[in-house]
């Protein structure tokens, strides 16, 4: 009887368990592989395909069976709209990252790399289904620790080590802050259950509750690279391999926003903390998008630019969070923006990965020149992703911005209206640097002596190329059929 109950309570995180089992299987299988000399790098292709296959199988089987689950808040994990959308997002991003890295897993570490990726995605599933502070924190750590491992094994030169260490130290710092917030919450409510915490706060919104809220928000703000918790992003992006940049700008961000929705999106904040929380989040959002965009404008370095662009998008997403808090009707627009963001960002990262032999060297904007000239399909796909990042119609990014703006304008709330105006202005500023990339991708001939000029073939990485095309196609498809987002 007891076993059955335990099993039932684990059903909402079945995909996560499936991924953990597959990850372990990959690690065990790797142990049995005959050892080879270190100076002869082993092909890590097989592991990559195994990881991707595991993701797709788990995702597919869960999608076809998971929707009938009973939502039970009393257990550690629940199965509601947010957990389902969170899991879908995690699986989507995981699949895309796995696909980009098929040819790009670090030599000698293929099995570990892809096992870690599976663990990371499973952590995201835990976060989205958590009903308890403990499981939520567990999930968040299951996202950040594999991320550190991935950073450490994929680039082992000095700058790689530096960025890993930076990420490690700051991530630990932010975890500690988050944990401190959690302990406050536990102190207020006397329970770790999110529902009970919410009930207790809404009954008695105390000063301690404000502090707890601020601490928790600060801890999560690191995951989503909100200003001023973003400083690690450009340094780490420029010190890691390109596909990992894609990973860093999507997976932790999903984790952060889903966790925010889990913690703050409940009824507690509606009644208890709403005005305060709203002010804080809107201010954070405005600073984040403005700093991100302005810093990106000054960048000629492609990786750092993408890091700042990811910061700016966090600002828009935080505005979506604010709108969701005010409306209280769930966070459909935020989820839509996140889905669009995942696909367009990873699509562009995939496109850049596809054309560069080495993904860890310095990349200037000018190195993007003339992609379309050499390969029409790749150039077109990257263009679509960039248009989507700007938020231009015919792409999913348009719906993302449109929905968030609509939610900001609809409630007739002055603060949100100001936020909406800021968001529009910021989108226009953001368009400048996306267009700068777009122009380089499409028209300019490579300048002599640049990396772009020395590229002989246009595509060096077929799976990444395919991923880019798939992402671009999805972006357009979602514009036509937004309900699939």
């Amino acid at each position: 009887m007891l076993t059955r109950e335990i099993l039932n309570s684990l059903l909402p995180v079945a995909p996560a368990l499936g991924l953990i089992i597959s990850g372990c299987a990959i690690l065990i299988a790797w142990m049995f592989q005959p050892q080879q000399d270190d100076d002869q790098p082993r092909s890590s292709n097989g592991w990559a395909w195994a990881g991707l296959a595991a993701l797709i199988v788990v995702w597919g089987s869960w999608s076809f069976s998971g929707s009938t689950l009973v939502d039970n808040e009393a257990t550690l994990f629940r199965s509601d709209v947010l957990s389902r959308s969170g899991t879908h997002l995690a699986m989507l991003a995981g699949c895309l990252v796995a696909a980009i890295t098929i040819n790009r897993s670090p030599s000698g570490f293929g099995a570990e790399f892809h096992a870690c990726l599976l663990f990371l995605v499973s952590g995201l599933c835990f976060v989205s289904a958590a009903t308890d502070l403990t499981t939520l924190y567990l999930g968040l750590e299951m996202v950040s620790i594999p991320t550190i491992l991935l950073l450490a094994i994929s680039r082992r030169d000095d700058s790689g080590m530096e960025s890993t260490l930076k990420y490690f130290a700051l991530s630990a710092f932010s975890s500690a802050i988050f944990l401190m917030g959690c302990s406050f919450l536990f102190g207020i409510a006397g329970s770790t259950k999110l529902s009970e915490i919410a009930a207790s706060i809404s009954a008695n919104p105390s000063i301690a509750a404000y502090i707890a809220f601020a601490l928790v928000l600060a801890g999560l703000a690191f995951r989503v690279t909100a200003v001023p918790f973003h400083f690690y992003a450009p340094d780490v992006f420029s010190g890691c391999s390109l596909p990992l940049g894609g990973l860093l700008s999507t997976l932790p961000k999903i984790a952060g926003f889903v966790a925010m929705l889990r913690l703050l999106g409940g009824p507690a904040l509606q009644s208890g903390l709403a005005p305060v929380a709203l002010n804080t989040i809107v201010v954070l959002a405005l600073i984040t998008m403005t700093v991100g965009n302005f810093a990106a404008l000054a960048q000629m370095n492609c990786r750092r630019l993408l890091a700042y662009s990811s910061v700016a998008h966090s600002g828009y997403l935080l505005m979506g969070l604010a709108a969701a808090l005010v409306q209280g009707t769930g966070a459909q627009s935020l989820i839509m923006y996140l889905s669009a963001y995942v696909v367009m960002t990873l699509g562009f990262f995939a496109g850049v990965t596809a054309i560069f032999e080495r993904t860890d060297e310095n990349l200037d904007l000018d190195d993007l020149q003339g992609v379309t000239q050499k390969n029409l399909l790749l150039g077109a796909s990257m263009t679509v992703c960039l248009l989507s990042l700007i938020g231009i119609p015919i792409t999913a990014g348009f719906w993302g911005k449109f929905m968030i703006l609509r939610d900001l304008i609809a409630p007739q709330n002055t603060l949100l209206l100001v936020g909406a105006i800021f968001m529009v202005v910021n989108s226009a500023i953001g368009a400048i640097y996306y267009l700068a990339m777009l122009i380089r991708v499409n028209t300019q001939k490579p300048t002599e002596g640049s990396q772009a000029e020395s590229r002989t073939t246009s595509i060096v990485d077929l799976p990444a190329f395919a991923t880019c095309v798939i992402c671009a196609a999805t972006t357009i498809l979602w514009f036509i059929v937004p309900k699939w987002m």
């Binding site: 130290a169 710092f173 404000y210 601020a214 601490l215 690191f222 450009p234 302005f294």
Partner: protein, 638 residues
């Protein structure tokens, strides 16, 4: 049947997608016509089945299609709304398009842009079909622009030729000018509907059903607004339907491949404006002054088009101006609907002439295409003559088209013109506007005379007389291939019988008239006789009409040969002032720009400042984060 409605736009859409893929593939280019053929055939068959299976009546059937977006209070459904007028228009569009596509297989063979042509052709038919069936004015406008875009692509199909590129640009810009007014009209109407009803969502306010429901309220509360809406919609319509003064783009559009001229500039696209008026006729029945304006514009266009056509040497241009003048007749028909009880009959008459005109004008254009093909792309009537023996099949087909256009009974054109003139003649005794109707009738009859003259003249110059072929034609000019002739025979059959059948059976009435109306006014015997006399006179005039030498002719001939200098007028009235305005604005802009540039430096400078904070030292990052936490907590206390 209603489920099948969506096949009509979807089939060309799929054809377009396949066509686009073929454009980029290296194989299968020479069979690129197949997807278009299949798509258009499916659409045409479904249309015909629906039309023949329909019991008629004017009630519209709304078929929900695809809900584009449905989030919260925002719902954007795209539905098909099909009534009698729409069904007739749809059938004309799909059938003629299919025949033209068949013809184009032969005509375009060997062109390097072969797949592109068929892909755009499918896209054009898709847009046109969506324009006809959309249940919302805004969706209609979207596809209205889609049609404009496709026509730009097709007119400028041979974009390497500067003349084609310019013609495409001209067509697009002139249409844009009119479309701006159309858009303003739509927004004004949206605003107005919002004032009298609050029950619908923002998007549904422009549904035709909603608009028609609130019309009485709108007319009683905001009559001026309604007049403005009607006027702006009319401007949009005359842009697309090439009426004075927006007709200047149509003759230039002959730079496109001939099948395009036949399809877009004779049978389908230019009828979009007429269709818009027919669709909005419930609204226009409240604004007789707009219909009066339509009538005047139509009458002026009919006369101008006919006169200019008389003095053109380019066979395709003759046909183009003929199209302009025939469309003028359609607008006269709308003018004849000034009295609200007559408006349904006006719509019937307009749709009737639209239908027959589609048959014989497509036929004429395509036979002109045959001539052009045989003459090595020469279309100047001064350079060839007597082609009767050279192109026998084309000769007969052209003759049929010409007779139908000239209005020789019992061919199609006679009957449909008759129904327009009959409508006017029946209202001559109208106490209020009688003299107006009489004026339009006279102008219409005069344009008929011109039509008969230029048609016969073009026929004689091309096919009669001694055999003369230009050097470009080579030694043995050849008749068109069977695949090009087959659709022409079908069009010819339509040109012969469609008018008589529809006139005698009143078949169109059952689709376009409310069931319990009085007998439609028909022309009297006197009018029949007058029309016959006009045709004969036209023939006689054509025989004696001299060929003018450009240098030695009187001023008015020169003016007509130069299209009344309207292009130049347009240039001086619109383009030149716009350019000087643009120069002025440019100068101001430079000044403002320098200011803005200063502002633009701020973000960049700010960015560089931000970069300084990015020191790379972990402890300083952690410190900033700590400060951030303190600030967040502080914010919570504010």
């Amino acid at each position: 049947m209603s489920n099948l409605v969506w096949l009509i736009p979807v089939a060309p859409l799929l054809a377009m997608l396949v066509g686009v893929v073929l454009c980029f593939s290296s194989r299968g280019r020479e069979s690129a016509h197949l997807p278009t053929w299949v798509g258009l055939l499916v659409a045409a068959v479904v249309c015909l089945m629906t039309l023949l299976g329909s019991e008629g009546g004017t009630t519209a059937v709304v078929t929900p299609g695809y809900t584009w977006l449905s989030v919260g209070s925002v719902t954007i459904p795209i539905s098909a709304r099909l009534d009698g007028v729409g069904l007739v228009q749809l059938t004309v569009v799909t059938c003629i398009s299919f025949l033209v596509a068949v013809y184009a297989q032969g005509y375009m063979k060997g062109d390097p842009g072969y797949p592109r042509f068929f892909a755009v052709l499918s896209a054009f038919v898709f847009s046109m079909v969506m324009l006809v069936i959309s249940s919302n004015l805004l969706v209609l406008y979207a596809f209205w622009e889609g049609v404009g875009l496709c026509s730009y692509l097709l007119i400028g199909f041979w974009y390497q030729r500067p003349s084609a590129a310019n013609a495409a640009m001209k067509a697009f810009l002139v249409n844009r000018l009119a479309d701006t007014a159309f858009l303003a009209g739509i927004l004004l109407l949206w605003h107005g509907v919002g004032k009298v009803t609050t029950s619908t969502t923002a998007f549904a306010r422009l549904d035709f059903d909603t608009i028609f429901n609130v019309l009485p309220a709108l007319a009683s509360e905001y009559p001026n607004l309604l007049s403005w809406v009607g006027f702006l919609l009319l401007v949009g319509a005359i842009g697309k339907s090439a009426q004075f003064p927006f007709h200047v783009w149509l003759p230039d559009a002959m730079e496109g491949p001939t099948p395009v001229s036949a399809l877009i500039h004779a049978a389908t696209m230019v009828t979009a404006g007429v269709y818009l008026l027919a669709r909005m006729s419930p609204l226009l029945s409240y604004t007789p002054e707009v219909l009066q304006l339509a009538g005047w514009l139509g009458a002026i266009t009919a006369v101008i088009g006919g006169s200019v056509a008389l003095f053109q040497d380019d066979l395709k241009r003759v046909l183009a101006y003929s199209t302009v003048s025939q469309l003028g007749l359609l607008f006269i028909a709308f003018g004849a609907g000034m009295n609200p009880e007559m408006l349904p009959f006006a719509v019937v008459a307009a749709m009737f002439h639209l239908l027959t005109h589609a048959f014989f004008k497509a036929l004429l254009f395509l036979t002109a295409g045959n001539v052009m093909h045989a003459m090595g792309d020469v279309i100047d009537m001064r350079k060839f003559s007597g082609l009767k023996s050279v192109l026998p099949a084309t000769h007969i087909l052209f003759l049929i088209g010409a007779l139908a256009l000239a209005g020789v009974p019992p061919l199609a054109g006679f009957w449909s013109k008759e129904s327009i003139f009959g409508l006017l003649a029946a209202q001559i005794k109208d106490p209020q506007h009688g003299s107006l109707f009489l004026t339009w009738l006279c102008m219409g009859l005069f344009s008929s005379l011109l039509t008969a003259t230029y048609t016969f003249r073009a026929y004689m110059r091309t096919f009669q007389g001694e055999v003369k072929t230009p050097a470009e034609a080579g030694d043995h000019p050849h008749e068109a291939t069977p695949v090009m002739l087959a659709p022409l025979y079908m069009l010819a059959a339509g040109s012969v019988v469609s008018g008589l059948v529809i006139y005698l059976t009143g078949w169109l009435d059952k689709f376009t008239l409310p069931p319990e109306t009085v007998e439609a006014p028909h022309g009297s015997w006197l009018l029949f006789v007058v029309s016959m006399v006009i045709v004969v006179a036209g023939y006689g005039l054509a025989r004696v009409f001299p060929t003018f030498d450009e240098k030695k002719s009187p001023a008015f001939v020169k003016a007509l040969a130069n299209r009344l200098y309207l292009d130049e007028l347009f240039y001086y009235l619109l383009v030149a002032p716009t350019q000087s305005l643009a120069n002025l604005v440019g100068a101001i802009d430079k000044f403002v720009d320098s200011l803005i540039r200063g502002v633009a430096h701020v973000p960049t400078a700010a960015g560089f400042q931000l970069r300084r904070m990015q020191s790379g030292i972990v402890s300083s990052y952690a410190l900033t984060m700590a400060v951030g936490i303190v600030l967040l907590v502080a914010l919570a206390f504010l």
